[in-house]
């Protein structure tokens, strides 16, 4: 399995030359995760991607799992910054479709599979590690809150049906997690097209207001 075949343009939410130490650590973690995956990752290997003194890594973190849990929190903060800055800019239907399209891409639009695989490996740690579990419980909750807000906006604007925003959000966040799981752990490109087709039908029939 080649962990280096991701598109070089997929650098995640990172500047080329991060100014502050935390961003530099997070960027190094992202790059090392994409290259080595979870099981083969070490603080040492993250250090190889880190332009400053390696001792900073050991100073800030007790071990690779503490660093990775912090990394997951960082990703969530970036998601929130991004969505907050976009809120109000675009209509609810576009925001909803953009959220799900990222997780269930059209065939051919598949990007950075290595990072996706690493994320699924990290999430599996939450089956037996409380710190990961708390972090993913928080992440999934924030995704639901975000999406419920989008749906509530759509209902209020009359572009969505009079649905329950919490239920729709929970349903879609779970579906999106399932799609990530499938993409990371099975050969499923054709199947994702079928999931996408039915997801579009669900949006039409169960969400969008009738003309």
């Amino acid at each position: 399995m080649n962990r280096n075949d991701h598109d070089a343009s997929d650098r995640g939410p990172f500047p080329d030359e991060p100014e502050d130490t935390r961003t530099a650590i997070m960027k190094a973690t992202f790059e090392a995760l994409c290259e080595h995956g979870y099981a083969d990752l070490t603080i040492q290997r993250i250090g190889e991607k880190f332009p400053k003194s390696k001792s900073l890594l050991y100073h800030h973190y007790d071990g690779k799992d503490a660093l990775l849990v912090d990394f997951l929190g960082y990703l969530l903060e970036r998601f929130e910054d991004r969505e907050l800055s976009r809120a109000g800019e675009t209509d609810p239907e576009t925001r909803l479709r953009s959220f799900v399209e990222h997780a269930v891409p059209e065939p051919g639009a598949e990007r950075n599979t290595e990072f996706l695989k690493a994320l699924v490996e990290l999430r599996a740690q939450a089956a037996h590690d409380e710190a990961y579990r708390e972090q993913f419980t928080r992440t999934q909750a924030r995704f639901r809150t975000y999406l419920a807000g989008v749906v509530a906006d759509g209902v209020e604007a009359g572009v969505f049906r009079d649905v329950d925003p919490q239920s729709v959000a929970a349903f879609l966040v779970t579906l999106v997690g399932g799609a990530m799981f499938d993409r990371a752990t099975t050969d499923s490109t054709a199947e994702m097209a079928a999931v996408r087709a039915e997801l579009d039908r669900y949006v039409e029939r169960c969400l969008l207001a009738e003309d």
Copy 2:
């Protein structure tokens, strides 16, 4: 995390005293997985659950992963036996609901979380291990084929709308995987009730024929 708190009545698809060696090995693997999870599992620990000569385990399998991939194949065979014996017995709507209810249980109906966690850990191995990946690709494909058959039966009988069985099956199998992922890796009991509510609305509005 206590891995021993699953309901003792949840023995999986196993007789109390398996007659043949393979079933006995599979039962021991199931019990050891529930008790130790994936990361702490060893052939030695599976052997502790195995009433016959431990050397049989080493004779049949190269290592714990070879045994676990075979175990996943065994689970799939049992699923197929069970569904095949039930096919025709019950109507398509009941078969469809029973498939999804298993993965998105009503609050309080949650069972054997330790086995679910172990399954998610096994599936995460497929992110970097080709043998697991092939097995889960096969498992997910069979689930889709099974469910597409149920949907096609329902369409033919006129109890479902004129939907595309492949797309509906792919959508539901992905949702079910997402629900397992959530249940194993987050504290999400209340959220599963919301997922279930919207799933029921999807079945009503997008699947069942109008009266």
